[in-house]
């Protein structure tokens, strides 16, 4: 399928101030914890002190004695999930892996798992009451390490988990929840052709999205049973679906209003507290607010899987890749939720190679259930593949970018996941990286350079948009996708482009689930493409309607009307109506002007990115200083280039954090030892140089404006770029992340 991709733009590609900017620099913007309503009380969640235990009893009697404690809850207040499926867009979810995260049922599987909750008239009273809830546990042996968990004699988490992907289906339950393998070509023949083979194993620990805003919500239920939820989320409709399934309340009774969202990166694509607030509101008859503490966010939300990737790559002496073989093991925490499928599918997607084998194993441990984080599953295997590619280029005495150019995928190539590439921007991005001044900078002693390339699939999925025109011709664009990084600006720019009116006359709004048709969540790098696609569609429908109205006023056929620069034009320009004039006459031409679009985007196209990092290593302390950093990324078309750069820079710095300092540290009891920003060390401003960006635009041939996604691929190249730079600078080979100073120093001194 091909379509006409627009290339001449008037508004798209400019850098206006974002429409919601004023509210955000003045403190008026309302985030999750910012809503207080009349009669509101506060919920507090009781969490497990053990990593693995049976819940023998829960006694609320002491807590209920405190005046002002108005409701309590536990899993007994939620429907038993059994084998109930939650309807997803294309794949259904199992309720039994969501419900126990909200409230443990009979057993706790990780430290700080929710066990019970109380609601009281003040936050401090609720916290005090929570301490009085008596939970009797029978402690079970726990297992934290994936290899230990995979052993036959390991403490078993679930007696109803049988390894998926094994034929025949095992009859004995296991902590190994899934196994899969994908192949193309003949891997042995591929290695037989190789002149050089390098095999390494790279490990990445559990990391957290680290959004600055903790999860927060307010829930209330009216006398008719209608449920109102206000919360910070990447998807109000997702909250509606999941909260309905978890609480057993009909989905039609919910209205979910998304607040402004203080960061998510995938971490706010599920629910943790909303169902609790709903049940407490139901039982108390009062609006209930819950705000997670920072500590609880780290302990009990969904971090990213830790992983171990063994990769073996073979090349000929003239630098052609002949075989890529990877095995990935991912720790999913207490429930199956890891991105093992994309990890297996996408790890080697940047390279043209006839012989690829990729396998994955998902293991359950007594740790928090992992959840989505920016390009789920991709950064970990790509770290391993890219680092080995860098090592191979060095061994062959080839420039690492030249080596990649020789092997990079291009239009027509078929990757392991089977969908042939259309026009893609990897080679362009590689060439841009190579000619960037940063790549020419001369390295001094103890300095090193690393390159990383990456692929991400990007999502499409369902979105809707409504456009209303006021009587003075101003435009309201309504969508259901929380604006996590400037998407209101993109929506307004695309509407402006279609309607031919300045962006300043357009007010984009993110609305609640009662005010717009269903929209999948903000994630998968899909909002600009899919929700933007809905906006374009609605705007095009509105233009048709405007032409129709003008035709009626002029008594002409609609075919004689053109829409030019925000005006209906006919008779070679002698007849003109502006949008505002048509809006003023709407009452006599057929009623209010509006347009609605329903969109299921099947036109997503992949993104590629290339990063180059220069570092200096302090040989006496092992400390790494980032000297220069360059991100090159194919955006397809950058609707608002400044926010595209922002995604590139933000992803790069998160990846730098993973590479150098971020990691979950569990003690032997399975408690997270660094559940705060003091010791979970995300990069701070002084850790970094400016992050230079180059936007490449190879249009997505399937999208009217050429848009690809931009939010996720940016986190994939930094780890290999940084790790290679450090290893080169120090003359070491550390494959176990993060490359924290003690590890680097130990390798230098070894």
């Amino acid at each position: 399928m091909t379509i006409n991709v627009k290339t001449d733009f008037k508004y798209v590609g400019t850098r206006p101030i974002r429409p919601d900017g004023l509210d955000k620099v003045t403190g008026r913007a309302m985030y999750g914890a910012d809503l207080n309503v009349q009669g509101m009380i506060y919920g507090h969640i009781v969490r497990s002190p053990y990593a693995h235990a049976k819940i023998k009893s829960i006694d609320f009697s002491e807590a209920l004695k405190l005046p002002g404690v108005l409701a309590t809850m536990s899993a007994d207040d939620l429907p038993d999930p059994g084998d109930i499926k939650i309807p997803g867009g294309e794949v259904d979810f199992e309720l039994k892996v969501f419900s126990p995260i909200i409230m443990a049922r009979g057993k706790v599987f990780f430290h700080a798992q929710a066990v019970a909750a109380v609601a009281a008239t003040s936050a401090s009273l609720a916290a005090e009451a929570a301490k009085l809830v008596k939970v009797e546990y029978e402690i079970l042996p726990h297992v934290l390490d994936v290899h230990a968990a995979a052993r036959e004699d390991a403490p078993l988490l679930h007696d109803d988990v049988f390894t998926q992907g094994v034929d025949p289906v095992p009859t004995k339950p296991s902590n190994v929840s899934a196994q899969l393998e994908l192949k193309m070509g003949d891997i042995d023949a591929g290695f037989a052709k190789a002149d050089l083979v390098i095999e390494r194993t790279y490990c990445v620990p559990m990391c957290h999205q680290g959004y600055i805003e903790p999860h927060a919500c307010v829930a209330q239920i009216d006398e008719s049973g209608k449920v109102d939820i206000w919360c910070c989320t990447q998807g109000a409709f997702m909250v509606r679906t999941l909260t309905s399934a978890i609480t057993g309340i009909d989905v039609g009774k919910f209205k979910v209003t998304p607040s402004e969202i203080g960061g998510g990166f995938g971490g706010k694509t599920t629910v943790y507290i909303e169902p609790v607030a709903v049940i407490l509101a139901q039982k108390s008859g009062r609006p209930v607010k819950i705000v997670m503490s920072r500590e609880d966010v780290f302990r009990a939300s969904g971090p990213v899987s830790s992983s171990e990737t063994r990769v073996k790559i073979g090349v000929t002496k003239d630098g052609k890749i002949t075989a890529i073989d990877t095995d990935i093991v991912m720790d999913s925490g207490a429930f199956s939720s890891s991105p093992i499928f994309p990890a297996v599918m996408f790890g080697s997607a940047c390279y043209r190679c006839d012989n690829i084998r990729s396998s994955g194993t998902e293991v359950l441990t007594n740790k928090p259930k992992v959840y989505a984080y920016r390009a789920p599953g991709a950064p970990q295997p790509m770290l391993a593949v890219e680092c080995v590619i860098n090592e191979i280029a060095q061994k062959l005495n080839m420039d690492p970018i030249d080596f990649r150019l020789l092997n990079a995928v291009d239009e027509g190539d078929v990757p392991l996941f089977g969908v042939p590439f259309q026009a893609i921007g990897l080679k362009t991005a590689l060439r841009e990286a190579k000619k960037h001044p940063n790549y020419q900078a001369v390295l001094k002693e103890n300095q090193g350079r690393g390159v990383g390339a990456a692929f991400w699939i990007n999502a499409g999925m369902q979105s809707s948009a409504t456009i209303n025109v006021s009587e003075d011709g101003r435009i309201n664009v309504l969508t259901g996708n929380p604006d996590i990084g400037g998407s209101r600006a993109s929506m307004a720019l695309m509407a402006a482009e279609v309607l031919g009116v300045p962006m300043e006359t357009i007010r984009p709004t993110v609305v609640d689930t009662d005010s717009i048709a269903y929209s999948d969540l903000t994630g998968g790098s899909r909002t600009t493409l899919a929700t933007g696609g809905a906006v374009i569609k609605a705007a095009e429908a509105l233009v048709e309607e405007l032409k129709k109205r003008a035709a009626a006023l002029w008594a002409l056929d609609i075919k004689e009307i053109e829409w030019v620069d925000g005006k209906a034009v006919a008779a070679n320009g002698e007849k003109v109506f502006t949008l505002a004039e048509l809006a003023a006459k709407a009452g006599v031409t057929g009623g209010p002007l509006c347009a609605v679009a329903s969109h299921n985007a099947h036109n997503a196209a992949p993104s590629f990115a290339v990063n180059v990092c220069d570092v200096e290593v302090d040989r006496e302390t092992g400390k790494v200083d980032i000297l220069r950093y360059t991100c090159v990324q194919d955006a397809g078309k950058a609707i608002h280039p400044a926010y595209v750069e922002g995604q590139m820079q933000g992803g790069a710095v998160q990846g730098i954090g993973w590479a150098l300092n971020e990691e979950y540290l569990f003690n032997e009891r399975g408690e997270l030892d660094n559940a705060g920003f003091l010791d979970y060390r995300i990069p701070v401003a002084s850790d970094l140089p400016m992050i230079d960006t180059v936007i490449v635009e190879v249009p997505n041939p399937l999208h009217p404006y050429g848009v690809r996604g931009v939010g996720e691929v940016s986190i994939c190249p930094p780890m290999p770029a940084v790790v290679t730079a450090v290893n080169q600078a120090a003359g070491i080979l550390v494959c176990d992340l993060p490359l924290s100073p003690p590890k680097v120093l130990a390798a230098i001194d070894a």
Binding site: V25, G262, H640, G650, A685
Partner: protein
């Protein structure tokens, strides 16, 4: 919990006299947000590690989550709500917008307060000085690049350049 009377506090917030009742353990960020409905001051950690609750207390930059509300009797507090005056943005607010230096925006009020404090003390800071001054204002979205450029640019505007 022992029955305890709340403490009455009179103070000044954004130039206006202000009174509230608080529990002795309530911190200033809690009172600003939940007693005074000044929710522009954000809470990201409650332990002084993220800077989202930055406010000025008698001219000193502080984390409002590490100040007891009872301490602010007869003090002078400036919050994000008081930065734009008479319908006009402060240059740092304007420059953050122009540079697209916010994505989710949750750290932005704290960044505004902290940057303004820096530029009042050091009107012509180097990039490195801005970076170290703002090290306590965590931002997970932007990688800081555009924030740093916005602060440097706001400094230039304030110096009349």
């Amino acid at each position: 919990m022992s029955k305890q009377r709340k403490t009455h506090v009179s103070t000044t917030v954004n130039g206006e006299p202000c009174e509230f009742l608080c529990e002795p353990t309530q911190v200033l960020s809690d009172v600003l947000r939940n007693n005074l409905n000044l929710t522009g001051t954000k809470e990201g950690c409650n332990t002084g590690d993220c800077g989202a609750c930055s406010v000025m207390l008698d001219g000193a930059l502080v984390c409002a989550c590490l100040v007891l509300a009872v301490e602010v009797q007869d003090r002078d507090i400036e919050t994000i709500e008081g930065v734009a005056k008479e319908g006009k943005l402060h240059p740092i607010q304007q420059k953050l917008l122009e540079h697209a230096a916010l994505q989710c925006g949750i750290c932005t009020p704290g960044v505004v307060i902290a940057s303004k404090a820096l530029l009042e003390k050091n009107p012509d800071p180097s990039e490195s000085e801005v970076r170290y001054w703002l090290a306590g204002n965590l931002c997970r979205c932007t990688g800081y690049d555009k924030i740093i450029r916005a602060v440097l640019d706001a400094g230039a505007v304030m110096r009349g350049e």
